[in-house]
Symmetry: C2
Subunit: 544 residues, 2 copies
Amino acid sequence: MSVEKRTKSIDLSHHLSELSKARTTSPLKGLQKYFSQPGILSLAGGLPSPAYFPISDVSANVLIPDSFALVPTESSTSFSWLWKLFGSHTSTSEKTQGVTIPKYSANDGDINLAHSLQYGPSVAQQQLQVFLREFTSEVYRPAFEDWSVLIDTGNTDGWSRAVTTLCNPGEGVLCEEWTYPSALASILPLNIQPVPVPMDGVGMKSDALENLLSQWDPVSRQMPRPHVMYIVPVGQNPSGSTMSITRKKQIYDVCVKYDVIIVEDDPYYFLQLGTYIFKEDRSSGATPSGRPSPKESKRFVSTLTPSFLNFDYQGRVIRLDTFSKTIAPGSRLGWFTCNPLFAERLERQGETTTQAPCGFGQSIITKILTHWSYDGYIRWLRGIRTEYQQRRNFFVDCLAEEFHLQPMPADTVADIWQGCIVYQASSKVKTIAEKHATQNLTMLSFVPPVAGMFVWMKLHLDQHPSFSPGDENALEMKLWTKLAENGVLFAPGWMFSAKELTGDTDHADSGHFRVSFSNVEFPDLKKAVTIFGRVIREFFEEDL
Amino acid sequence: MSVEKRTKSIDLSHHLSELSKARTTSPLKGLQKYFSQPGILSLAGGLPSPAYFPISDVSANVLIPDSFALVPTESSTSFSWLWKLFGSHTSTSEKTQGVTIPKYSANDGDINLAHSLQYGPSVAQQQLQVFLREFTSEVYRPAFEDWSVLIDTGNTDGWSRAVTTLCNPGEGVLCEEWTYPSALASILPLNIQPVPVPMDGVGMKSDALENLLSQWDPVSRQMPRPHVMYIVPVGQNPSGSTMSITRKKQIYDVCVKYDVIIVEDDPYYFLQLGTYIFKEDRSSGATPSGRPSPKESKRFVSTLTPSFLNFDYQGRVIRLDTFSKTIAPGSRLGWFTCNPLFAERLERQGETTTQAPCGFGQSIITKILTHWSYDGYIRWLRGIRTEYQQRRNFFVDCLAEEFHLQPMPADTVADIWQGCIVYQASSKVKTIAEKHATQNLTMLSFVPPVAGMFVWMKLHLDQHPSFSPGDENALEMKLWTKLAENGVLFAPGWMFSAKELTGDTDHADSGHFRVSFSNVEFPDLKKAVTIFGRVIREFFEEDL
């Protein structure tokens, strides 16, 4: 891959959709100089007086950045379920510090409600913009110089704006063969179709992508060759796969070759959990006492797999970041990082839809981030990462207690897990079938995820006693329903199938559950796995 | 007009756009029963644990509902400019009460951050939904029974979602000939054109609407007869006009006849300011001491001009409400009121764009509203209304001090003011021209608005010494620029012209300024009018 700085000579304007090109800039553009005159008396806008905002100040008690340990230990387990059990809802064990946002700030430039709650352009408030630029620069280190950061109301808004900025009706969007259903629900009504690309254990396959694009026939496909990709490279939803840097570079190079814009939806980036190790082999350590520091931040950031931005020498990546997983989903706050041409069009679109994100949310989150500082926020992210690591470990530990787990290299199991160690799960209790058989029955397999919130289970439905090819979907739903009737909900795999939507019904790929370990309390995770173990054993004994 | 309850037999589904019809419902729909099972262990969703939301609680000091007087008096003037002059930004004179939203609430159903900041459906949080339904029912009293209330992120989002739900590319939207530029910026890139309807002093003309629709020729117009109307009936932006109930009913009946859906964008509804009376003729009263009470609320609501919803017996109105003018623009919170068929489609659209509005904003605003209660909020709105009344009065008083104002019935002045008393402004200082003439020169005319934030000035450019027909736009911009160079910004009229956009350049209509009295402090309002007086006098003396 040749590395060179993006220059203005690389023209990406042909990627803009007709809709996006048609968006008008503000009619005031030509008069802008008057609006920025110091001391001007503006009776031009339709702004309410901030005197009538019914709030003198907003305060929050904010957790300290090092609230959570950095090494998974028993003591770092989330005890919120315990508080609930004992009827205490005040979470007295949380260490917090108070922050306040006044309506009028004493110093110019300090964040204040009179400004945060007023109408404004569809960009971030100034302090937040500064923070996001610093953060993006330090963490993602984009490979081109003139990148822009633009706020949005989270990645759902981000993807919706990106696809309407880039795609015309009748076009297709490259995506992983299993993908986030909401991303597809956004494009289908616009008459934009998913174009699924096969995956293996580290995500979208670059050779499959190359084949698909090189052999693209617009006539038989009834659509032009796709020029936009939607991809979730870290802790992929639903498969939990995480793309290696090598694969990312291969994908990027194919995208350069075929002139494809990459929309990198990366909500789980900071939930990079490392490799799962069986409980008995794990060494439990103590959290280093180091306080948040630039050195610690740098060290942590260097352990994270790089974003596509990091080698995007042509500016063809639109990265979507969100505070949903690192602060809270209700923040409805995220940001684009991309070239300035796309950023300007995305901003215009914001002006006629969401305007700026909520001023309450923006001001509170900005206050938290600036109160913590960049290094504090990195420390917070490290703690959160460790918490989810603990959850991932606990959940897989539960599976290891419930099932006999056999780790094996992928090539001996299934193509979909290539590049990973696959855990094959069989019953610890010999089933009726097994009593008559010579080997253990593999009921499911999975790869303990190295990032994100999900375990993606491949159900070995062909091992079901009444299996015939083509039964996969029916059996998947039979097991799902049995499980639900026993009080446990997993997400059925078919929901995430991009191929299903394109009418490409390759049943041999079917039979998955996406299981989230992100939210349920530990005792309930344990209970759910126990129920699942019983139900799936009964399921594989059926009709015997 | 025949009044009858809307029944299911009135089918409005043919109004849905192709895009809206193509939106999918959640793929989980069929499995929903399992998701609502009590005690179910759900590992299906991708929810982060609320233990990791870094906020223990959010508090706010909230103004009391009767912070502002109900009768405009000297003492009820907003003194926020005084605080600023004296360097005090703490607004110590504000009476506030503290409210707190904890992460975990002690009682089920109490608003809490663990819920407010979590992912959820694209509808309001439950307590807010209850409040909005009660509010809509009490204040707007819709004429049909099965109306729905659906939250959005403010009226810009609301209009954007409404128009894409209703209109296909190539269609037109009926609107006032002068209208909100952002509303047009939303539709133009979708290849949806404005179809301007002539106005008079009370807004869109029903006879002009009837003529337009009855004579509609799809061939010469190159578009089907419009089936959607965008209208701002109260304190219209930019004209400041407010529609009488008689006119509203006439418009509604025409819409029934030609099967038009009315999108009622009504942000200024609670800024119904009453008729302007010259300062010397006003009696200043004292605010009645009555505390917020159901009786007072009912009495106030009965003084407000009814919404289109109030006689919408067919469910063909989508009303857009917002907290932007009554709480703060940065709330980015509003709601649709409409029939359930449209509400369901609008909700689906929210799911793939904004999702739910920001949880910080929703929880704080819900807490304020429930803390105040319905009657408290009505009291707050009455105070805000009086504040803007005071501002309107002060601004027109300034004009009366700067100019000689002559109130006259509209039919003696101009068609555009029909139905109102028009104030004709001439110089108090005799201009050079007038010294040679026999009568005062009318430089501008306006109708003191009975609602909203704006005075719409008609510039009598044909009185300019160097005027030739066709010069209107150039002269408007010449005066605007002169004014800006002297430190005062008004909004130029051409920005609001829907006709201009359709290529219908009827210059005789040109020459307006929209002047906002909503935000600038009183001394600056006074200063701006003084500068304006000097500049416009010099302008009309030019070339002599």
